[in-house]
Symmetry: C2
Subunit: 334 residues, 2 copies
């Protein structure tokens, strides 16, 4: 698997170089909009998260989609910044909800400041994203992002309801990741196509590309939570298991378990009663039933779907990078 940040040949870095000047404008806009004269703590807290080495994959996708559609205006920069703000707001609220202590290898904002600040700064960033979208001036785009925001919240709430429920099925899991990840990926690429005035077929193709890429991305994230290396991930292995977060590797293992194994899942995930050594047993069962390989296979299927949706676009450099990105997303190690 490939390192996401350090490998200069990775498609995200290639994309970033290819779109360097527009991405620089996005960064400037982000830094301008996260300032608040009224409440200086906002800038500090937002800066901690925004400039802490995030991949900025979502804004890159908006710029890339616009580039693929030969867009030549300036709205894509505003929308890319808006999308990064929605993402950051979601992360701030997620870390409070999950009581997370680490993100991207650094202490979370809720740990450094407090939950209250994380909630309110999340709200502030969401408002700022809203201002940026309005500035972009397209009601159609605003509608897409309003719908995506609602879907994101629904996904997060569904995930909260499913926590510790070992009867959660794959259909529910896919609804959750559609909300928490795929909806914003899809919106990021869709708005790039919309502002470029593409026809419905091309808008749909880029939407479906974003959605499939997002699903593949989240499946890989959920897999890495069990199979990654802590140093490169910047978080602990088995966090999902310890929090009782129901992801595909777990669902697939539980579905094939029986007898004492079910009792083990019920105790450690359902009731959340865990010994440190239980993670090893969980991983043993996941391997025994091929749950990790099956999840990886599923991630590859979605990555392939993502690449296929790009086929209707003419060959060009950005298309090549985006296709490489679909493979990279499942091969990465962080």
């Amino acid at each position: 698997m490939k390192d996401m940040k350090n490998n200069k040949n990775n498609p995200i870095e290639v994309l970033r170089l290819h779109l360097a000047s527009e991405m620089h404008s996005v960064d400037c806009l982000i830094n301008t909009y996260m300032k608040s004269e009224t409440a200086p703590i906002i800038s500090k807290l937002a800066d901690h998260l925004i400039n802490a080495g995030g991949k900025r994959l979502r804004p890159l996708l908006t710029l890339a989609a616009a580039n693929l559609c030969n867009y030549n205006g300036t709205s894509h920069v505003k929308l890319a910044a808006a999308i990064e703000f929605i993402h950051t707001a979601t992360l701030l609220h997620d870390d409070v909800v999950d009581e997370s202590l680490q993100r991207r290898g650094k202490p979370t904002a809720n740990l450094l400041w407090d939950n209250q600040s994380s909630i309110l700064v999340g709200d502030y960033l969401f408002s700022k994203s809203f201002q940026l979208m309005v500035e972009a001036g397209s009601l159609k785009v605003l509608s897409v992002l309003a719908d995506a925001s609602a879907t994101i919240s629904e996904g997060e709430i569904l995930q909260l309801s499913a926590a510790k429920n070992i009867n959660t099925d794959e259909e529910t899991y896919f609804k959750i990741i559609d909300g928490k990840t795929a909806a914003l990926f899809a919106a990021a690429t869709k708005v790039g196509a919309i502002i470029s005035n593409m026809d419905e077929t091309h808008v749909d193709a880029l939407t479906n590309f974003g959605k499939a890429l997002g699903i593949s991305f989240q499946l890989t994230d959920d897999l890495l939570d069990y199979t990654g290396f802590e140093e490169s991930l910047g978080k602990n292995i088995g966090d999902d298991y310890r929090e009782g977060k129901i992801t595909l590797p777990l669902i697939k293992a539980i579905n094939k378990s029986s007898g004492d194994e079910i009792i083990f899942w019920e105790k450690t995930v359902g009731k959340g009663v865990q010994e440190p050594s239980d993670l090893k047993q969980a991983l043993f069962l996941m391997k025994k039933y091929g749950a990790l390989n099956d999840t990886r296979h599923e991630a590859i299927i979605w990555a392939t779907k993502a690449a296929d949706h790009l086929e209707i676009f003419p060959e060009c450099e950005i298309k090549t990078i985006l296709k490489e990105l679909t493979s990279f997303v499942v091969e990465r190690i962080n």
Copy 2:
């Protein structure tokens, strides 16, 4: 002082009767938009708060402003519902931030469910308000509401930073209430004027009316926290004092205190070390220095300003009710 809910002669009730058919449409829209097929818990939690006997003053203000401007479209209903959703989302997050146990005489959602659900359902309602605004179809209105949302968050964050700081000055207090209350009141009336295509003078007049009414409303709220009756308020007296929330009655009393009195404030508010009997001493000092009367006087000044801003509108029934509302807001007991 007048009971806000039970007195059928109160201007809010008169307004509600006057705008009954449109308000019914707002209620229907609210009930439709707060449903989620993906995550049923949303409807339950939102219903708890939305249908728990709130005054719905903000959506009424949007309808009233539109009515005053002879608006004859349907967007005002969508915007009124959107504004109530923003308000409800803010309340849900506030109750988590303040760790409140009671609102409107009932247990808060964060107590009945959990903080996580309150955060995420707040996000969901904010997204739904965003969808409703987009449906109303005016970029100018979207811009007003995006700006208001950012100002609200800034006010809340400033309030959090000022908590327990007994050196907070009146200027900071007014910035806080401008954000947490006046911004949404002002936006509620402003959008009613904008969708009615009023000229700048009339848009400004209705904006300033909303803003002044909001300030007067919040000043009265902060006063009632020390002078109200628990049964009619639906919450405990002295909550702000116990939480170290710095409001005008406290600032005015602290400003005139000296010697042991300052030590008392520093201990009970600054350090948050309180005996149950300290509230009595706090009230004694507030009365000694006229802080409660001065706050009430300030509330009346802002109510008068609000009424004055309506003067440029021709006499009509809705104008009369809105003027009565400005007096009522400072005379209410809950």
